[in-house]
Amino acid sequence: MSGHRSTRILAFTTCLLMFLSFFFGGCGKKEDEPVTPTKEPYKVGAVLSISGPNAPLGTPEQRAIRLFEKEINAKGGINGHPLEVIIEDDESDPAKASTAVTKLITQMNVLAVVGSSGTGTTLAMSPIVEREQVPLVSCAAGAQITNPINKWVFRTPPTDTMALQKVLEYLKNTVKVTKVAVLHDANAFGTGGADALQAQAPNYGIQVIARESYGSTDTDMTGQLTKIKQTAAQALVVWGTNPGPAVVAQNMKQLGITIPYVGSHGIANKKFIELAGSAADGVVFPAGRLLIPSSIPKNSAWRKAVDRFAAAYKKEYQLEIDTFAAHGYDAIAMVAEAIKKAGPDRAKIRDEIEKLKGFVGIDGVYNYSPTNHDGLTADDLIMIKIVNGKWTEEKS
């Protein structure tokens, strides 16, 4: 009896959930239908981390890609062919990313792939696109993605190495310190950043005299900070993504530690200010220039592209643009540009991406070559200081 009842409840719940998912899944798809172009659609795949820990990256990327798809199809598509982007969610899981990219290539027959949002998921896809000979434009910043160069893999964001270079230049030239402490997230991003910092700091005459880490979900870093407080460190470099660095900022304020806090590009979002509150004031971090459009020369093609994108994004989603939206938008835009020149041929599309010179994106102006699959340079970044809860350009 009771067994039946619970089975019924279960069955009912399952039905309800399935119904709901169809209902909401259906809603999202409708608006993507191309309007004007009539020829057979060009299919491009995208593997993004829409759920899981990297969801704050994958979600804006997805929005930007959908926006681009809508815009280009409203203008007649690519040479009369509508662009159809098939987006797969890898749940921030490398294993799922490799399954998704295989599905896109072998079953959906996509011309090129955009993604993924994270370094780990991109690295999982890298050997597969190489084997299948499909161009991939990643939205992730890990140095390993393009070093060594994989013939088929490109990327849009400034790399972690460029961000680090910017931070070290800032510490040397503006803050003028020689001894720093590093506090980093124990995950791949934080550890990789701290390793690179330790390796490169001597080139800038800077000594890393203390190195500590924390777990991504830790709530209290006073133990590590008390230890750092006793060293002679003149500045603290914090390498991680939210919410960890916000906790560090609060704990520093609590302990009365006043040495400069220099963060990574992982906190280049309004979320950090929201979480850290008044403790965010004075924090400096490297970020793309698009966050402060006035740092880009007026009337340049780049500035116009950023202003236009920001307006279109705001109109479509009622949201401000962020760096991740820019990474996604630039990735799909350069794939579309390459398809326009090469036609529906995977190898030729790859060649065209590699030949892109002076391609104006949102993150910067891209220049690729057979020996450079990064596109941007450290000059596309600026240092931003948080003053009274607002971003201001910190001249360095």
Binding site: S2, S6, T217, T219, G223, E274, L275
Partner: protein, 301 residues
């Protein structure tokens, strides 16, 4: 304990900072551990959705106070009330209808429930980390040479209040004693007029209310996001085991020990080893005292 004394002897002011910070973190674990204890001590079930009750509490608090602009006190009451209803409703609709369920079945159901809550929270609130304003400002103050934020006092106070109330409830009231009896021997308890189904409902209601309040009180320090319940649940469960499952003072001792231990380890050793050392100590304690630090030997059968 030994570690604390050694640390204090070595470095007085930093040692104190570590211990006070550790006690704050530990109080959070203790609150979670008590949630596990309530349900365990009256039904012998481990509720793996305990962390999700806290997550829901924090999320609702954010919605009411930050989004809807309802005053903090009313938001608090409203959030706790909703989560309590969810907890009680879950017990009535899912666990109660099962006739003669095995403990394992219910535990598996609670795991399913936790996944459901996480997915639902992600769907409703998205994946962003959300912040709640501290109850009485964020101006740090000095205490015995160490600094603390005011929210820590709220956490200490709430933990203390909870453990006292729990102790009185389970040892001094008929209902509380009946609940413990129902867990130890359901048949015998029924004979003397205690109804195991009713005690189960009371236990889930208390656990949900406790979980939600804890989730709200810690949110200004810990932040809240859809997946915050996982780690809270894990650390709370570890604390409950460490202190002695099913015994409120044990949960507090377990939670505080784990919190202080973690902070000291993070300060003394390379901080990457923090979780590893904390769980290693847990394993050692359980090898020496399987019933936990304060736990009593089960006298069943």
């Amino acid at each position: 304990m030994v570690l604390i004394i050694v640390t204090l002897a070595l470095k007085k002011s930093t040692g104190l900072q570590w211990i006070l910070s550790g006690l704050t973190v530990g109080s959070i674990y203790a609150l979670m551990a008590m949630g596990f204890s309530v349900i365990f001590s009256s039904t012998r079930v481990i509720n793996f959705a305990q962390g999700e009750f806290s997550m829901l509490g924090g999320m609702l608090m954010y919605t009411f106070s930050n989004r809807a602009g309802i005053p903090a006190l009313y938001s608090f009451i409203l959030s706790v009330l909703i989560v309590t209803l969810i907890g009680a409703g879950f017990e009535r609709l899912v666990i109660h209808p099962l006739k003669k369920p095995s403990v394992i079945t219910i535990i598996l159901i609670t795991i399913g429930l936790s996944i459901f809550f996480r997915a639902a929270a992600k769907w409703i609130w998205g994946t962003d980390t959300l912040a709640i304003a501290p109850f009485s400002g964020d101006k740090p103050f000095k205490l015995l040479g160490a600094t603390l934020v005011p929210q820590s006092l709220w956490i200490f106070g709430f933990t203390l209040l909870t453990v006292v109330l729990m102790f009185i409830f389970f040892n001094r009231t008929i209902l509380g004693k009946g609940m413990r009896a129902a867990a130890e021997n359901p048949e015998a308890a029924t004979l003397v007029g205690v109804s195991p189904p009713a005690t189960s409902l009371v236990a889930w209601t208390i656990a949900a209310a406790l979980g939600a309040s804890a989730g709200i009180i810690i949110a200004p320090i810990k932040f809240v996001s859809f997946d915050v319940g996982v780690m809270l649940g894990l650390k709370g469960f570890a604390s409950a085991i460490l202190g002695g499952l099913g015994y409120a003072p044990g949960a507090v001792v377990g939670g505080l020990s784990l919190g202080v231990l973690e902070t000291i380890v993070a300060g003394v050793f390379p901080s990457g080893y923090k979780d590893a050392v904390a769980f290693l100590v847990l394993v050692i304690v359980l090898l020496l005292r399987p019933q936990g630090i304060l736990g009593r030997q089960e006298k069943l059968e």
